[in-house]
């Protein structure tokens, strides 16, 4: 249950340190830079640099401001321009999902004993999967590689940075569905498995395919056996196609953002848009000041 083999009764200092660091460690630098407190700090840094240091530091400040502006703008566009899919539709590829967080089947408790049940808790439970449910489907989320962008909620403790069961989550990532079709039990695997199984019982194999009764399978008889195995594999594959698969999001391809958030997407998008605008203004401000100086 505990990711780093820790005792569940670790001290408060360890706990609070992780609560504080989660913003940087799991939310990522870009997300952290969109917070009002850091925006203000950044503006004050810029103000200080203009009046106290040389040009090099000012250019560095401008360059970093532009980088943050572009990164935040990309995040903003990703949030507003990714269509939200229903989990049940099992649309494969990069999707946005919205639903309710739930513990996996058969698991009734998770987290620290002195706290309410938590699905994800910084420093303690960071890599264990949990479900995201919507009206008609559910998807297993593996948060290990995700940017976790969370805010304390009023579910339990108003200060605790965690994900609780029952919380509404917004997820961006690559959805994949595992069925009998795309697991290792593919067509060729099935054919080889069937043939191997038949071969292990030579009495039955000869009984079924030794048409001339010479006690062994000639090339033609073996070809018939292979064809039969192929036919059975195709039928099994067709059956599997209609079995409900397991939907999973554990990463995103092409360097795109894999994010799990308990902040409503429109609010998050507004935050990124405003922050991007302010960093752009900082960049332009430096250029204007440099030009007019």
């Amino acid at each position: 249950m505990f990711s780093k083999q820790q005792s569940p009764f670790l001290g408060w200092s360890y706990f609070l340190r992780h609560q504080y660091r989660v913003l940087w460690r799991k939310g990522g630098l870009v997300n952290a830079m969109a917070r009002p407190s850091l925006l203000l700090t950044w503006a004050l840094c810029g103000y200080g640099l203009i009046y106290s240091t040389g040009t090099v530091w000012l250019w560095l400040f401008a360059l970093l401001s532009l980088s943050f502006a572009l990164a935040l703008y990309q995040r903003y566009r990703l949030l507003v321009d990714t269509a939200t899919s229903a989990v049940s539709s099992s649309a494969q590829g990069y999707v946005a999902l919205q639903g309710t967080a739930r513990l996996p089947d058969g698991e009734y408790t998770r987290g620290l004993p002195q706290l309410p049940v938590t699905l994800w808790l910084p420093g303690y439970i960071e890599d264990q999967p949990f479900y995201l449910l919507d009206d008609a489907g559910r998807c297993l989320l593996y948060p290990e590689a995700a940017d976790i962008v969370i805010q304390p909620s009023n579910h339990h403790y108003h200060w605790l940075q965690a994900i609780y069961p029952g919380q509404t989550l917004y997820v961006l990532g690559d959805m994949r569905t595992y069925t009998g079709d795309n697991t290792r039990h593919g067509y060729h695997y099935r054919v080889s498995e069937l043939l191997a199984r038949w071969k292990s019982n030579s009495f039955n194999l000869l009984g079924a395919f030794d048409k001339n009764g010479d006690g062994r399978l000639c090339a033609e008889e073996w070809a018939v056996a292979v064809k039969s195995a192929q036919q059975l594999a195709r039928e099994a594959q067709a059956e599997n196609r209609y079995k409900t698969g397991t939907h999973i999001i554990d990463r995103s391809s092409g360097g795109r953002l894999f994010m799990i958030s308990n902040i409503p997407p429109d609010r998050l998008a507004t935050r990124y848009r405003i922050a991007s605008g302010l960093y752009s203004a900082a960049w332009l401000g430096v250029l204007v000041i440099y030009y007019s100086a």
Binding site: L70, D81, S85, S89, A91, Q92, G93, Y94
Partner: protein, 187 residues
């Protein structure tokens, strides 16, 4: 001079970000379409099996069966041509035909008791539900792409690099109305 180059550099990077984003929107729409395409093909593979099972029991419903066969063939042709408008119309006809087929099947107890029929009916209904969900997702993705390439400043890049609009898979009046069960039983 340095200020000018710094501004130019920033502008170029911003244009690259916008371009990459339009590429992402295009790929999202393509992927959303391929998500539907695969299900339409699966559903079309199941239909001949359903027709074969129905033919054994429904000798007096040749017209309904022919309607489904013809609609399926129209969907296949439209899919091959990649014409979204024709796919939508052909799909409407096919759904109507299937609705009638399942309705008249109620009159054939032997057919209703057939495991093969029940299994195929369940598969096709599940596929239809998934197609409906994925169509919604495709329409959302296409709509986001279409809106973006018409907005300033994206429109400049979209026109420069010929980003195209995606046609939506429209819901016709037939689908929006409740199913008229009584009409389906008139034969």
């Amino acid at each position: 001079m340095i200020t000018f180059f710094a501004m130019l550099g920033g502008l170029i990077v911003w244009i690259i970000v916008l371009y990459n984003h339009l590429v992402m929107l295009k790929n999202n729409s393509d992927k959303a379409w391929s998500n539907i395409d695969v299900l339409l093909k699966q559903r079309n593979e199941e239909l001949p099996k359903l027709i074969a099972v129905c033919k054994e029991h429904m000798q007096y419903e040749q017209e309904t069966l022919q309607r489904v066969i013809a609609a399926r063939s129209r969907v296949e042709t439209a899919l091959k041509a990649g014409d979204m408008g024709s796919i939508g119309m052909a799909e409407d006809q096919l759904r109507l035909g299937l609705g009638q087929l399942f309705a008249v099947a109620e009159d054939y107890p032997e057919l209703k008791a057939s495991d093969a029929f029940l299994q195929l009916q369940m598969r096709i209904t599940t596929l239809e539900d998934n197609i409906a969900d994925r169509r919604e997702f495709y329409n959302d993705s296409a709509n986001l792409n279409n809106t973006r390439i018409e907005q300033f400043p994206d429109v400049l890049i979209a026109r420069m690099f010929s980003f195209r609009r995606y046609r939506l898979m429209s819901f016709t009046t037939l689908e929006k109305h409740d199913v008229d069960i009584a009409a389906n039983f008139k034969h």
